[in-house]
């Protein structure tokens, strides 16, 4: 989870403004020798603690059950983000952590709270859609895969045909 540090900053900024942030610990996306797939809830708890320690996570971690009940309910992607407003409605969902977008969306809810406090009428709720671009630092990515173990790198290579930390240029050279 390469985006943990910026999210921690947002947590510090927005928690005093009526927000709670949580990391939901789900199945291992790239299980390896060091962090294998979960076979018991006890093991899942132990690995969640390890995540907290390794990434120095300050945001509270919630444990999904062994069968992935919450993960399934929200769509099964490995690094998705949801923002849920005070009424319990989904106001933002993203297929990957994008700290800038999250910042903008939290800011929108702060503005909404302010409008509500001033009694500004809301005519209707609109919807927007967008693409976003996920930056990749090959060294950081290599670090995360190596931390999981050689198996994680091998499985990725078998599934995708290139190393998980290959640059676009290296991917082209393989073809």
């Amino acid at each position: 989870m390469g985006e943990v540090p910026p999210l921690t900053k947002l947590y510090e900024r927005y928690q005093p403004c009526g927000f709670e942030f949580f990391i939901v610990y789900i199945r291992e996306a790239h299980p390896g020798e060091n962090f294998p797939h979960h076979v018991s809830f006890e093991q899942k708890i132990a690995q969640a603690r390890k995540l907290q320690e390794l990434e120095r996570v300050e945001i509270p971690i919630l444990l999904d059950d062994l069968e992935g009940t919450a993960h399934r309910a929200y769509g099964l992607l490995p690094n998705m983000v949801y923002l849920i407003d005070r009424d319990g409605l989904v106001v933002y969902k993203s297929d990957w952590t994008d700290a800038h977008e999250i910042d903008g969306m939290c800011e929108s809810l702060v503005r909404l709270d302010d409008m509500n406090a001033r009694g500004v009428p809301i005519i209707r709720k609109g919807i927007s859609e967008r693409l976003h671009w996920i930056p990749m630092d090959p060294r950081d990515r290599e670090r995360i895969y190596r931390r999981s173990g050689e198996k994680a790198i091998r499985d990725y290579l078998n599934a995708k045909g290139h190393l998980p930390y290959a640059t676009d240029e290296e991917k082209l050279n393989r073809k």
């Binding site: 989870m1 709670e20 942030f21 610990y25 919450a70 983000v81 849920i84 319990g88 999981s148």
Partner: protein
């Protein structure tokens, strides 16, 4: 159910097709009760009318 915790990446669909068909924008977020690392139960409904809630899903790997 057994395949949820797959042993190696590439053994199972990672969910790209589910993501846009569940928990849609503007709809009520799926309810959950999960345990935190102190063993305390946290329910989404705890925050109703009180807090906005951000969830980031993730793992070590």
């Amino acid at each position: 159910m057994d395949s949820y915790n797959y042993e190696g990446y590439g053994q199972c669909e990672i969910g790209a097709t589910d993501f846009f068909s569940v928990a849609k924008i503007g709809t009520e977020a799926p309810a959950f009760i999960m345990m935190d690392l102190d063993g305390k139960k946290v329910s989404l409904t705890d925050f109703r009318t009180k807090k906005h809630v951000l969830l980031e899903f993730g793992s070590i790997t």
